[in-house]
Structure formats: C-alpha cells, structure tokens
C-alpha cells in the first residue's frame, strides 16, 4: 500500500526528513563546517528569530510590494504592447527587435542601471521586476495573437460576428489563456527581479537581507532566507496554479 502512487508525497516527505536527520547528525558529529553548512536546527532557529523579533516584516513587505507591483505592471504593459504589435505592423517593426534583444540577454544585468536612474528605493526594484515580466508577456501575447486559431476566427465571422465580437470572443480569451499559462513563470521572474534589485542596492527587502547575511558570513541566516523565499514563491505558485486551473477549466 505504501508503494501506491497516491502516497508518493508521503515517500517524498519521509526522504526529506531522512535527509534532514542525516544532515543534522553530520553537523553535530563535526563532519560539516557550520561556517558554510550550518545544521538544520540552526537554520530553523534563525528563521524563528526573524519572525519572533518581527524584523522580517518590513523586508517581506518591501519584496512583496516590488515583486507584485512589477508583476502587475509587467502583465498590463506586456499585454497592451503585445496586442498593439500584433495588430499594427509599424508598432511590431519598432518593438520586435527591442524585445528580441531584451529576451536574449539576462535582463537582471539592467539592475545597476535602474539603481542609477531610479535610486535605491522601491522604484528600481519594481522596474527590474517589470522588465523581466513585461518582455515575457509581450512575447507570449504577440506570438499568440499571430498564431490564433484561424478556424475560430472564421467560425465567429460566419456566425455573423463583427470585429468587436472577434476581439471579445476569440482574441481576449486566447490572450487570457496564454497569459495565465505563463503566470507561474511571470511570478518567478517578478520575485527574481525584486530580490536581485534588492541584492544590488537597497535598505530593505529579502534580497537586501541576503546581501547582509553574505557580508557577515551568516550562513544560517542565508539558508533561512533562501528557505523563506522558496516557501513564499511556492505559496504564490500555488495560488497562481489554482487561478489558472479555475480560469482555464475549459482546457
């Protein structure tokens, strides 16, 4: 019964617990240097400390604000530009090369530039999250609209639908499907942008705390923060996944 596919999560959880136990035992036996690899119990204590003294909240607030702000802006602007480029050839001619270049390069290299332009406050982090998300959504929407199922377009036309009917019943739902299909990737990009931006120059945020932990050689804090970011992103992935499942229930 234990080997049934339905209980895979129990097996995975058990394997993880064994790994933690071995890690802890190895640490206590002096086989691991705590400067580089602290014990799981030390990481847990650092995590509890972050929350118990309440100093994590302003940092979580800063990262969430930057990531979700960049995500929302990136989705809206990416959709608008993608639709405009798909419908107006001149806009496509102007935007496509820029987006291709932005897509090809690791866009996080723009972080220092945003700090110079927008300062070390929230704006530079939102900008980095925004650029990461907007380019992804633009490409998705632009390519998607150009590859929209012609049979559906023809069906709406033959049923007597006008241009607005095409937008409402074919293009908008198609765009929504493509955007939702990429929502999880966009969430990941948004948090990457926020954390990297904070890592480069900031006074708040999980990225800033990571940078602080690195400069003070505090490996336990670093592991605790990585774990925290992981949990936060997985939680948002879960919400995005549920949203996607509900809104794309026809698929």
């Amino acid at each position: 019964m234990f080997l049934h596919p339905r209980y895979a999560w129990i097996r995975q959880l058990a394997a993880f617990a064994v790994l933690l136990a071995v890690w802890e035992a190895a640490g206590r036996a002096g086989l691991l240097n705590p400067l580089y690899v602290p014990n799981p119990s030390r990481i847990g204590a650092a995590l509890v400390e972050l929350f118990s003294d309440g100093r994590i909240w302003p940092h979580l607030d800063a990262t969430f604000t930057a990531a979700l702000g960049g995500l929302a802006l990136g989705i809206v602007v990416g959709i608008l530009l993608g639709v405009a480029a798909a419908l107006v050839r001149l806009i496509a001619e102007l935007l496509e090369p820029l987006m291709t270049v932005l897509n090809a390069i690791p866009r996080v290299i723009l972080a220092p530039l945003f700090v110079i332009w927008l300062g070390i406050g929230l704006a530079s982090k939102v900008a980095l999250s925004f650029i990461l998300v907007a380019v992804l959504i633009f490409s998705t929407v632009f390519t998607g609209i150009r590859q929209v199922d012609r049979r559906l377009v023809e069906r709406v036309v033959t049923l007597g639908g006008d241009r607005w009917a095409l937008v409402r019943h074919v293009y908008l739902p198609s765009v929504a499907a493509w955007v939702l299909g990429n929502l999880k990737i966009a969430v990941g990009f948004a948090f990457t942008g926020a954390c990297v931006g904070e890592f480069v120059a900031a006074t708040h945020g999980l990225g800033y705390l990571l940078s602080f932990a690195q400069s003070t050689y505090n490996a336990a804090l670093m592991f605790a923060l990585i774990l925290l970011i992981l949990v936060v992103v997985l939680l948002i992935f879960g919400v995005a996944g549920r949203l996607e499942k509900y809104l794309l229930r026809w698929n």
Binding site: L159, G161, A165, A177, W250
Partner: protein, 249 residues
C-alpha cells in the same frame, strides 16, 4: 443558391474553373470529386471566406440564414456547449437570455440534455458534432453548407448523426450543399450529386439526379434499387476522371 462560372485561384493555376451549380430550395445537393479538386474552396467562396477570381454566387439569403457545418467543429473551447450554440443568435441581435433558452432547446432536440454546461473538450466527437449542428440549426438557416462534416466520427456515431441531420433538414425543408469524397454518403443523402474533375482547373463533369424517395433513412436508402446502378456509374466516372488526369500528367 446559384453558383455561376466560378473560378478560384490561390495565385497560380486556378484550382476551380468555370464551375456552375444550383441548389434549389429544400434540396440536398452533394459535390463529390477527387482530393485536390477544390471542393472546399468552392464552399469557402460561397460563404465569403474566399474571393473568387471570377464568377458569381447568388443567394437570396441573409448571412444569418446560411448555416455551416465543417469537418472541424471549431467550437470556441472556452465557451460551454450552450454558449457556443447561443453565439450566432446573440450576434444577430437576440437578447442573451432568450438566446440561451433557444440554445438549450436545440441541445435537447439533438439529444444533448444535461450537456449544456460542458466545455467542448469534455464532450465526445459525436457530441461536439451535435453541438456544432445545433449551432448551425439554431440560426434557422435556409441553406446549410457542409464540408466533410462526418469524416472524423466513428461508424456508429456517424450513422446516428447523419440520421439526425437528414431528419432535421427534411422536416425543416432546409437546402443543403454537402462536399464529400464519400460516394455512398453523397448518394444516400442527396437529391442531386455533382461530380468535380481532378484539379487543377477542376470543373463539373457530370450531374446525377438521385431518384430515391423522401423521407429517407440514410442506411436503408443504400438498399434502394436505384442506389447500386447510380453508385457504379458515379464510381466509374470518378475513376475515369482520375485515370485520365494521371495519364495527362
């Protein structure tokens, strides 16, 4: 509906040349021919999705009186079966609530009670075809254009759907232009069959009146004494046409 001297080209040599045919009111007409003879292009020109090089398509029908049933059901995947059926009605000015009630009635008529809330992906091939049929019939068309509409269905589902279609078009006195390469299907359903030659420059080579009385059962009409001789003639003509073109090539 009258097609006169229709020539269709996609840039090079015409796929169809000077094709003329007539679908009288309440008649079931089929167009058969080898693959690549431009059968689907002709239908697309009748609907207005393909601009002909020359020739005319005359109908005394409004756009909403023209129903379409293609091999691909092309239902909007994000809309339920009921919404898909109601779509054309709302496009033509019917209030949404009334259109949904009308759509539900058509689904019931086509044995789809309880399937109105399902999305196309959650329906079988036969059910999707029925939804597409309900979508076409809900518009109360006077002419339905069909392009291999039953080709993707398995034999039993196909027989049922075809039986329903025939019963409906006979009862509602709807004209039909069916494009198919299935000679048996064409003869068992139609009042008249046109044979297209092998393309390019495909043209009508023969016209066959089918003297099987209505109302018809599509399966039993194949046992009618007139069926076999007509089928043999049509098959011989089609084979000759394909062989002749192969020799010319």
């Amino acid at each position: 509906m009258r097609v006169r001297d229709l020539t269709i080209s996609y840039g090079g040599e015409p796929v169809l040349e000077a094709v003329s045919l007539t679908v009288e009111e309440g008649r079931f007409v089929s167009l058969v021919g080898p693959s690549g003879s431009g059968k689907s292009s002709l239908l697309r020109a009748v609907i207005g999705l393909q601009q002909p090089l020359s020739g005319t398509v005359e109908t005394h029908l409004a756009r909403s009186q023209l129903g379409i049933l293609f091999q691909d059901d092309a239902l909007l995947p994000w809309k339920t079966a009921r919404d898909n059926v109601a779509l054309g009605l709302t496009f033509n000015g019917m209030e949404r609530k009334k259109a949904l009630a009308e759509a539900e009635a058509w689904l019931e008529r086509l044995d789809l009670v309880g399937f109105g809330d399902r999305f196309p992906r959650h329906l079988s091939g036969g059910q999707r075809k029925r939804v597409a049929l309900a979508q076409a019939l809900a518009m109360k068309p006077r002419l339905i254009l069909m392009d291999e509409p039953f080709a993707s269905l398995d034999a039993i589902v196909r027989a049922r759907v075809v039986r329903d279609v025939v019963a409906l078009v006979e009862r509602e006195k709807i004209s039909v232009l069916l494009v198919t390469h299935d000679l048996e299907e064409a003869l068992s359903l139609s009042d008249e069959v046109y044979l297209l030659s092998q393309g390019p420059r495909a043209h009508i080579t023969q016209q066959y009146p089918v003297p099987i009385p209505r109302p018809r059962d599509p399966v039993h009409s194949r046992m009618h004494p007139a069926f076999s001789p007509l089928y043999e003639r049509l098959w011989a003509d089609l084979s000759r046409e394909v062989d002749h073109r192969a020799e010319a090539a």
